[in-house]
Structures are given as structure tokens and as C-alpha cells.
């Protein structure tokens, strides 16, 4: 289980934002992406997750092992917490492990409609999805937004104690310190030159 990125260039809306990016993350490792707003953290994560094509370069990772978590949680407000998690588990062909509720402090909220949850609780539900889908490579975009310090600790414990310990790896864009012993990658030096020209990638279709 390893993620390798070789000389990757990514674009947003046809404009190159990052270029010449290379890094490796081994099993059990975390890479924290840093950089000011707009530098291209989200674009990079979306490209790694396969939501958009890379301009050039390659992403080498085992097939069907990656999962992506965006700013938006994908939580359906008229479904209960359990129904939301069960849905994602079934899409990935798995069962919901019972301890995932405890891991994200959702035990008392299991039968609540997600629409009645607070922003932080909703976020925890969104992150709990990562605990049920069983993917080894996680691309996380600002996972700790609207979480309090206790929940950030819960999430860091989940990452370190379950995900990484079981041989998973993660690439995380975040502005806060998760308390993980992880290398950081500052994206600022990889910012694309403004005059760099690339054509639209029709091949992606």
C-alpha cells in the first residue's frame, strides 16, 4: 500500500495552479498539505481522488482503495445518523462496524435525523463515513472544520489508532495541528507560473 505522485500538475477551471509536484506516502504514513488559501490544496486532493484529470504527471496508487472527503459531508438531513452510515457502507459493499459510533461519539445520536444535528455533529457523521467504507487511502480536505478540540482529538485518534495502524495512509489538507507525527508539505513553492499554457483534456471523457 503506497501512494506515489510523480511530477504532477493540476489545474482548476483550465488554469494551472500547481506544477512539478512529487511525493510518496508509505503505508501507515500521513502527509499534511499546507499553504495559503487558494494555493490549490482542494484541487490537488480532487485530482488525487480522480474527480478531475491531472494536466500532466502521474498518480500511482492501488486501484479501488482511495476515498475522498470534501468540505461538504454528503450527509442527508432527512435520514437518520444510522441510515446515512448504512447507505455509505452498502455502496462500498460493507457492514457498519458497531464501534464506529463510539469512535466518533455518535452513540447517543444514532436515531436522530441528521438535519437536527449541530454543524460539528454533522461533521463527525461525515467523518464517520470514512470509518465504515474501509478504504486504505484517504484524501481529506479540511476534515476538522467546525469540530471542537475534543472532536479533533477523536478524529486524530481514529486516524492514528485505527486507520494508520491497519496499514492505511492519508493525505490531509488542514490548517490546524492534528497532533499526528506527520511530515508537512508546503505547496507554495509548487505554484504554477501564471503564463503556463495547457489545453483542455478531452481524453478524460
Amino acid at each position: 500500500m503506497e501512494l506515489s505522485v510523480r511530477n504532477l500538475s493540476v489545474a482548476r477551471g483550465g488554469m494551472p495552479v500547481l506544477e512539478g509536484l512529487s511525493f510518496d506516502v508509505a503505508a501507515g504514513g500521513v502527509l499534511v498539505l499546507r499553504g495559503p488559501n487558494g494555493v490549490g490544496k482542494t484541487t490537488l486532493l480532487r485530482t488525487l481522488a480522480g474527480l478531475q484529470p491531472a494536466l500532466s504527471g502521474e498518480v500511482i496508487c492501488p486501484e479501488d482503495q482511495a476515498a475522498y472527503a470534501s468540505h461538504a459531508d454528503g450527509v442527508k438531513s432527512t435520514l437518520t445518523v444510522t441510515e446515512n452510515l448504512t447507505f455509505w457502507a452498502e455502496v462500498y459493499g460493507r457492514d457498519v462496524p458497531d464501534d464506529v459510533y463510539a469512535a466518533f461519539d455518535l452513540t447517543d445520536l444514532r436515531d436522530r435525523q441528521a438535519g437536527t444535528l449541530s454543524a460539528g455533529q454533522k461533521r463527525r457523521l461525515g467523518l464517520a463515513r470514512l470509518g465504515v467504507i474501509g478504504r486504505k487511502i484517504l484524501f481529506l480536505d479540511e476534515p476538522t472544520v467546525s469540530l471542537d478540540r475534543f472532536s479533533v482529538k477523536l478524529f486524530a485518534d481514529f486516524l492514528a489508532g485505527r486507520h494508520l495502524a491497519e496499514g492505511g495512509l492519508a493525505v490531509i489538507a488542514t490548517h490546524i495541528d492534528l497532533g499526528l507525527d506527520a511530515p508537512e508539505l508546503d505547496l507554495t513553492p509548487f505554484k504554477a507560473a501564471p503564463d503556463a499554457k495547457f489545453g483542455q483534456d478531452e481524453a478524460f471523457l
Binding site: L51, L79, F87, E90, V91
Partner: protein, 218 residues
């Protein structure tokens, strides 16, 4: 696929899900037409097949923009796109869910509403069959339109403009089958054409919709 279908149906019947929206619209149009046209049964009978089909088409159109818009807003569409479920399967499931929540109730309600329009007795069976065969095509074509316009704010107008011309063949053959049955003619050919349109859309449009979604998710 089953999980997504169950989730979509569950969302549709919960509060604010929009189940019954199309059915209510269909009901209102059919009830209002006799008031607008006048109570002359001789006038209502020939236009009944056309009115029923146009109303069914507009009712299906009404809820199209919800197919992907809500999933796009809350981020589930992006998460679905990175899940093991192929986008082609996801769009197919979305179309089926849309049909179960709009096309199917319309089809079942149509015979009751046919009475209000004084539909010829011989046409009830063919009308039921024509709606059952034709409304899935409306849902599938609509899903394609919704996939093209997902992410556009207030894309409803654009969606209607894209989808309505594509609906015309379904409307023509659907209404033609009912009209022929009402006139006592052979109605097998338009029904077969209708079945062909539905089969064709279900064979091709999931792929087109998935491609459009991938473009829009970039």
C-alpha cells in the same frame, strides 16, 4: 445500486422530498381542463389522449432538477463519483427512482382521471400501457438533462429547454397510441415505437449522463 435506490426513494417520501409533486400537478391539470374547455363531452373526448399525455410530460418535467441538484449541493455527488459504484449505474438508479416517484403514480392515477376527460372506454387499457411504457423514457431523458445542467444555479429553464425537444417523440407516439385506441384503430405500432424509445434511452443515456456528470464535477 440497491442501496442508492432505497436511499433515493426514502428521501423522496420523507419531508420535503418532492414525492407527490408530479402527481399533484397531473391531478390539478386534468381537473382544470374540463373547467377551461367547457363541459361538452363531445369536445373533451377527442382531446383527452393529448391532454393526458401533455400533463404527464409536464408533471415529469417538474421534478427533474431535483435529481442531481440536492446531491450536488450537499457533496454526496462527489463522494458517489469516487465510490466503487460506477456513475453509469448511479444515473440509471437515479432515473429509476425518479420514475418510481413520478411516472409510476401518474400511470396508476391516469385511468381515474380519464373519466374526468370523458376518455373513450376502449382507450383505458392502451393508455395505461402507453404511460407505463413511455414515462420511463421521460425519466431517463430528464436524468440526462439534469446531469448536463447540474451545478448551474437556477438551471431549471435551461434544463426544460434541453429536455422538451427530446420529449417530443415520446409524446407523439404515446398520445397517438391512445388516440388510435379511442378511434377503434390498431394501436400496436405506436406502442412498439414507444417501447423502442424507452429501450433506446435506457441503453444509451446512462453513459451520456455519466460523462456529463464527470464533466460537471471537475
Amino acid at each position: 445500486m440497491k442501496a442508492l435506490l432505497i436511499r433515493d426513494l426514502r428521501l423522496a417520501v420523507r419531508a420535503g422530498g418532492g414525492f407527490g409533486l408530479g402527481l399533484a400537478f397531473f391531478l390539478i391539470v386534468i381537473v382544470l381542463v374540463p373547467f377551461g374547455v367547457g363541459p361538452e363531452t363531445s369536445l373533451l373526448r377527442p382531446i383527452a389522449p393529448g391532454i393526458l399525455w401533455v400533463a404527464a410530460l409536464l408533471a415529469a418535467l417538474l421534478s427533474l432538477d431535483r435529481i442531481f441538484a440536492l446531491d450536488h449541493e450537499d457533496g454526496s455527488l462527489g463522494l458517489l463519483a469516487t465510490s466503487p459504484l460506477p456513475m453509469e449505474a448511479a444515473t440509471l438508479v437515479k432515473a429509476v427512482a425518479h420514475w418510481v416517484t413520478t411516472g409510476l403514480p401518474l400511470t396508476l392515477a391516469a385511468p381515474v382521471l380519464g373519466v374526468l376527460l370523458n376518455l373513450a372506454p376502449a382507450a383505458y387499457g392502451p393508455m395505461l400501457v402507453s404511460l407505463a411504457l413511455g414515462t420511463p423514457a421521460l425519466s431517463m431523458i430528464g436524468t440526462f438533462g439534469a446531469a448536463l445542467t447540474v451545478g448551474i444555479r437556477r438551471g431549471g429553464l435551461l434544463l426544460s429547454l434541453i429536455v422538451l425537444p427530446l420529449y417530443v417523440p415520446t409524446l407523439i407516439f404515446g398520445a397517438e397510441a391512445v388516440r388510435r385506441a379511442a378511434d377503434g384503430l390498431d394501436y400496436a405500432t405506436p406502442l412498439m415505437m414507444l417501447a423502442a424509445i424507452t429501450a433506446g434511452t435506457f441503453a444509451l443515456l446512462p453513459f451520456a449522463s455519466a460523462a456529463a456528470l464527470k464533466m460537471n464535477l471537475r
